[in-house]
């Protein structure tokens, strides 16, 4: 085969096919609105996925299962402090980020201090965070301030601002991973912890930063999502548990660590959201959607050529 696609391009490719299918079904007029709304939904997946990517890239076994509950907790905390007031948007934002950062640090603390596998440590914390969210908001949905909702829906000249802003974050992540000292250190730690230690890299600090940034991205996603969807809700993070992992891996990041692809996450996130749109247009059942999602994840992972590590 002369045509070799980069692993991360498959997500974009599938997304494109699904967009095409949707347009074919509901007419050319639907092209732009479909894409525009998929971009907005994808933006949330990208925020969550980018955080997860940093953790996954920091070494085999590293994963953050607490993202959904951190997202929910941060959303509840910020909604409570803002109480629908526009003047409080900035404090609310800072609180959401702080909650996320603290949660990330607690995750890493449990991993190192108790020497737990990350999957267990973050799972146990997710139970705790979930409880906090329960007690903050109970079953009630807390409404966001109008300014926040307006921001998430803001568009300039027909172009939505939110996805563009998140793309900016993605570009920043690309730059840091490629050229940043911190990014190089992260990828070195992810490839070989022992080699990194002996090369003078502060392994603990690098991982702490990765988990903290991951928590912060969950906090940011919670803050934005509650503005976008009209408030915080207890189950708002649930779908992101598996999706955050799936978009990272389909985006070309290796679960073995040491290698990350920030742009690819967009392809995978668009694929997820355009598929939902497509199946909705076709009026397919939810069951079919799950089946197709699962089959495509396995198919893409199975056919994509991966770099061999000896």
């Amino acid at each position: 085969m002369s045509l070799r696609l980069a692993p991360w391009s498959y997500g974009f490719l599938v997304a494109l096919v699904m967009w095409g299918a949707t347009i074919a079904y509901s007419g050319v007029g639907s092209a732009i609105p479909t894409l525009s709304s998929a971009l907005v939904f994808a933006a949330f997946s990208v925020v969550v996925g980018s955080g997860q990517m940093l953790v996954i890239a920091s070494g085999p076994g590293n994963i953050d299962l607490s993202m959904p509950s951190v997202l929910t907790l941060a959303a509840y905390a910020s909604m409570s402090v803002m109480a629908g007031s526009d003047a409080m948007v900035l404090p609310g934002f800072l609180l959401a980020i702080t909650v996320g950062a603290l949660a990330g640090m607690l995750n890493y603390l449990a991993i190192t201090a108790l020497r737990l596998p990350p999957i267990i440590a973050t799972l146990a914390w997710s139970f705790v965070f979930q409880s906090f969210a329960f007690n903050l908001g109970g079953e009630a949905t807390l409404k966001p301030p109008a300014a926040l909702s307006d921001f998430t829906l803001w568009s300039i000249g027909g172009i939505r601002v939110l996805p563009v802003a998140v793309m900016g974050l993605t570009l920043l992540a690309v730059l840091v991973l490629k050229r940043g000292v911190g990014g190089r250190h992260l990828l070195a730690v992810g490839q070989s912890e022992r080699a990194a230690r002996l090369a003078g890299i502060p392994v603990g600090r690098v991982r702490l930063v990765a988990y903290t940034l991951c928590g912060m991205s969950a906090g940011l996603a919670g803050f934005l999502l509650s503005g976008f969807s009209g408030g915080a809700a207890l189950n708002m993070g649930d779908t992101y548990l598996l999706e955050s992992i799936a978009v990272v891996v389909l985006g070309g990041t290796s679960v073995a660590g040491g290698q990350a692809n920030a742009i690819g996450i967009w392809g995978a996130a668009l694929f997820f959201n355009l598929m939902a749109t497509m199946l909705n247009t076709f009026q397919m059942q939810a069951g079919i959607r799950f089946l197709l999602t699962g089959a495509l994840i396995i198919l893409i992972v199975a056919i994509v050529p991966r770099p061999k590590v000896g």
Binding site: G61, I63, L65, A110, L114, R115, L116, P117, I119, I120, L123, A124, W125, S126, F127, V128, F129, Q130, S131, F132, F134, N135, G138, L242, I245, A246, V249, V255, A256, Q285, A286, G287, I288, R289, F290, L291, L292, T293, G294, A295, L296, I297, I298, V301, A302
Partner: protein, 320 residues
């Protein structure tokens, strides 16, 4: 010459080391039971035990299934949704068309073996393939049965509420499974090969064993155990529900780790896993006995997980 055998620090005797590994979750379990009996002495009875551990049975099977996969150094994120799928099949067909139900479950086990095959042949990360499978099982279950429904066969319900003499059914099942698991995985000659394959697959392959066969067989066995989890769960809840058991995936992982297992492959203990599953199942009951408000119960479960695992660190030898 003893010049090679360095005695730098006293090592914990092997037997003591593994006793600690299982002893710790066992001690936790006993401590939790003690608290419950202290608060409610009436629970210390045949009936009380049966009630406390009722829902530990399916979790135990799911945890053992997870243990097999973790033994190979893999992880299965699809067990929870597969168990949900099994409850749907059981509640829909096992009564009216038992042959069809058995055929579907057998096909499910075959798919599990196929997942092992795919992971091995394409050298894929199990976490992703089983992540995809979790969507597939959920999709299949929802397609069969969009919401809770169906009815468990009467014999299955009767079995799960059977009261054998002297020992309550959940305790009996726990004892039997732990014993069988110990024989097969820890003691038998093939168990040694399986654990070896998890830790150093190349060494086992060089000794002439087929890793492909091993992985397929182990995955199929995991699928069979997950079927048992689904069957017993249906017997308890008397109906099917696609979303009944997503928590089993990660609780199962928790039980394996509580029981002294490790993700590095080859280090698992069936007895420990059974005790771990019992501990996790009991945690919920303990919290309601302690009158922890419902909103804090799940958080307290997380705290219990931390406490037990922290104990492991305190008691384990200092390895760098």
């Amino acid at each position: 010459m003893a010049d090679i055998a360095l005695q730098r620090r006293p090592r914990i005797a092997p037997a003591l080391g593994s006793a600690l590994q299982i002893g710790l979750p066992a001690a936790t379990l006993i401590a939790m039971l003690a608290v419950i009996f202290w608060i409610r002495p009436s629970a210390m009875s045949y009936f009380g035990f049966g009630l406390l551990f009722k829902f530990a049975v399916p979790l135990m099977f799911a945890a053992l299934a997870q243990m097999l996969v973790i033994m190979l150094g893999d992880i299965d994120l699809s067990i929870g949704s597969f168990v949900g799928f099994v409850t749907c099949v059981t509640a829909l067909y096992l009564n009216e068309a038992p042959l069809l139900a058995v055929a579907i479950l057998a096909a499910g086990i075959a798919v599990y073996a196929g997942v092992g095959l795919l992971i091995h042949v394409r050298q894929l990360p199990s976490i992703i393939v089983t992540l995809g499978m979790s969507f597939i099982w959920l999709g299949a279950a929802v397609t069969l049965m969009p919401g809770p429904g169906g009815a468990a066969p009467r014999w299955l319900v009767a079995f799960m509420s059977w009261k054998p003499p002297l020992v309550p059914l959940p305790v009996l099942i726990a004892l039997v499974t732990a014993f069988v698991g110990h024989l097969v995985i820890t003691r038998s000659s093939y168990g040694a090969v399986l654990r070896g394959a998890g830790a150093n697959p190349r060494a086992v392959e060089r000794a002439g064993w087929s890793l492909l066969t091993i992985r397929c067989a182990v995955y199929a066995a995991a699928g069979a155990l997950a079927c048992l989890a689904g069957l017993t769960l249906t017997g308890l809840t008397t109906s099917g529900d696609p979303n009944v058991a997503p928590a089993y995936t990660l609780l199962g992982v928790g039980a394996v780790i509580l029981g002294g297992g490790a993700f590095t492959g080859g280090i698992v203990s069936p007895v420990g896993t059974v005790i771990g599953a019992l501990t996790l199942a009991l945690a919920g009951s303990l919290l309601s006995f302690l009158q922890v408000p419902p909103t804090w119960q799940i958080g307290a479960q997380g705290a219990i997980l931390f406490l037990v695992l922290a104990g492991r660190v305190l008691f384990s030898e200092h390895r760098s």
